[in-house]
């Protein structure tokens, strides 16, 4: 399980792509490498980093969470509907209520999935619809307010360091340590790798899974809270883009959808690549329509690399295609 986290080959490609795109942006546009633009990027990347970490935890257990977007939306709306007047108690409430709500929603996901033995895909699809209904019930149209003090703290600076940078670095580090240094983290890898084996070696798989979905809910809530602090208001549909983007970032950051392999170490690079694609297309004055094509192509290339274990071999793919009796996943074949 440690190899899963420490394997540099998993994370190296995404950081190489990140550095290339970053340098390219610097050459293309003089204003890109300014402090202001970078602070702006930190602010824009933070929710995506948290959403992708939430998705990664779930994917590591071999599941998937399609309700992340709705949890982000609901906590975003909650954070913007809390009482506005500035007082110590309200600030505490602002931090506690949405975070606990996210944790609770995630735990409910986990309870339904493990309790019924259902597919995570369809359960989170259903609960996602329910959470979205709840947020539309609380706030049918975007609006609400966020305490200025909170908003300024979350998007401002601590000394000379921008808060968003600190927030996502601390979040990523905490998540990384959770996965590598705790029993809970090791259990996640064990049960994602082989649930039967994990169960037989004494891991309480059900409980671990429930808490994984709970933690994912909490991380999604942090993304939602940060979004509301950034926008000074709430939007029930603010989380929608994060459903598919979080899966895409988790996967290009080296986490296998089969479970048990990957981690959060590549997330920051992955999220940056996603964000910078738009940025670079803007700088090149290419129509934003091409961003979808670019995202799709980058995903496919990154996936082709990771799913073939680091080697790209079109020749082997051709052989597999033309071989009379196909090649199932399961490692029967060895190309060549």
């Amino acid at each position: 399980m440690r190899t899963g986290q420490r394997d540099l080959r998993l994370y190296a490609p995404i950081y190489v792509i990140f550095i290339v795109i970053y340098l390219l942006s610097c050459f293309l546009e003089a204003n890109f490498f300014t402090w202001n633009n970078n602070v702006n990027l930190f602010t824009r990347i933070t929710p995506l980093v948290f959403a992708s970490m939430a998705q990664t935890l779930v994917i590591l257990t071999g599941g998937i969470d399609l309700s992340i977007g709705s949890i982000i939306g609901l906590t975003n709306v909650l954070a913007a509907s809390l009482p506005y007047p500035e007082s110590g108690l309200n600030v505490v409430l602002w931090f506690l209520v949405p975070a606990l709500a996210g944790l609770a929603l995630g735990l409910i996901n986990g309870l339904i999935i493990t309790g019924g033995g259902f597919s995570p895909l369809i359960v989170t699809l259903a609960t996602g619809a329910i959470w979205k209904g709840l947020s539309l019930f609380i706030m049918p149209v975007p609006g609400g307010e966020v305490s200025l003090a909170v908003a300024r703290t979350a998007t401002g600076k601590l000394g000379a360091v921008p808060m968003p940078l600190l927030i996502f670095l601390a979040g990523a580090l905490a998540c990384h340590r959770l996965l590598t240094r705790t029993r809970f983290g090791r259990s996640i890898y064990a049960l994602g790798g082989n649930e039967t084996l994990a169960y037989e070696s004494g891991i309480a798989c059900g409980r671990v899974k429930i808490w994984v979905y709970g933690t994912a809910g909490l991380l999604a809530a942090l993304a939602g809270m940060f979004l509301s602090a950034r926008m000074f208001s709430g939007d029930p549909l603010a989380g929608e883009p994060y459903i598919l983007n979080s899966i895409a970032v988790a996967v290009i950051a080296g986490t296998s959808l089969a479970g048990g392999r990957g981690g959060v170490a590549g997330i920051i690079g992955g999220a940056y690549v996603f964000l910078l694609i738009n940025n670079i297309l803007n700088l090149l004055a290419i129509s934003s329509f091409y961003q979808y094509v670019a995202k799709g192509l980058i995903l496919i290339i990154a996936l082709a690399i990771t799913s073939s274990g680091g080697e790209i071999s079109p020749a082997a793919w051709m052989r597999r295609l033309l071989k009379p009796a196909g090649a199932p996943s399961g490692g029967v074949d060895g190309p060549g």
Partner: protein, 325 residues
Amino acid sequence: MDRAEGRGLKGMKRVLLKNITLLLFLLNALLFGVGELISPGFLSADHVTAVLRTASFLGIVSIGQTLTILTAGIDLSVGPLVTMGNVFACMFINGVDGNTLWALAAVILIGLLFGAANGLGVSVTKISPLVMTLAIGSLVTGITLIVSQGAPKGLASPSLRFIGVGSLWGRIPVIIIVWAGLSLLFVLLLRSTSFGRKVYHLGANQRAAHLSGIRVNRTLILAYALSGASATLTGALMAGYTQTAFLGIGNEYILWSITAVVIGGTSLSGGRGGYLGTVAGAILLVLIESLLTIVRMPEAGRRIATGLMILIMISVYFRSKNRKP
């Protein structure tokens, strides 16, 4: 089987739990009845055909979704492909009847190609279907936007419009007949061809299918290609309904088609289920949406109800699975 026959209520419950499709069709009939009680006219021929007309578009997309889910995969690119079919059909046809036939063929071909790309990624490079179809979906959205420049042009022709909104023999909408025809073809494809049997086999156990000599890659590529074609065809048929193209038209179909398939009793782990359940599932979804609209449920309530319905259906399905001898 023999134990389940007869025996009053208990026996009936067993039969129903064993036969999800029958249960769903009865549930549909019940909901039509409830609707009639709440709002007289719900059971009128006009309203019933309106519900079925809406369900037919969902049903045709769900042909592909059923097929990919039966192979233990999933197709998230159906939404973008529906939009692409819609936009391209209007662009190719441009209101001229003579263009309709080749435009439909071209749109189906485009769907086959992108679907085959999905299948290639899933089978040959072994990318997970979830993200492979997600990536192709993003690609398709981009191409649709680039080709249409963000402002789709063109118009459906009178003949396509006849398919979309016209009726035969006075009462029966053409689109429902098209759906019934495609359903029949698809059920035959699944039940009576070697391709159908291969789909079930490889969905149940890909390794075993491979070892028993099934050409897994070809079957997967064909399944995804057909899914792409059913999505773009739906988009084109919807052009007959909406007259002009609309860029967001396919968005809801990703989740709706998966929902229809799953509440129709097809297992997401592959190899089990069939299309008749999906047909009932599609009708059920549209019917509930229509009922909730009639009782003036706001969007928030409609979403919550849809979510709860999925959870209830999967737990019912789970019970029936456990009860199989």
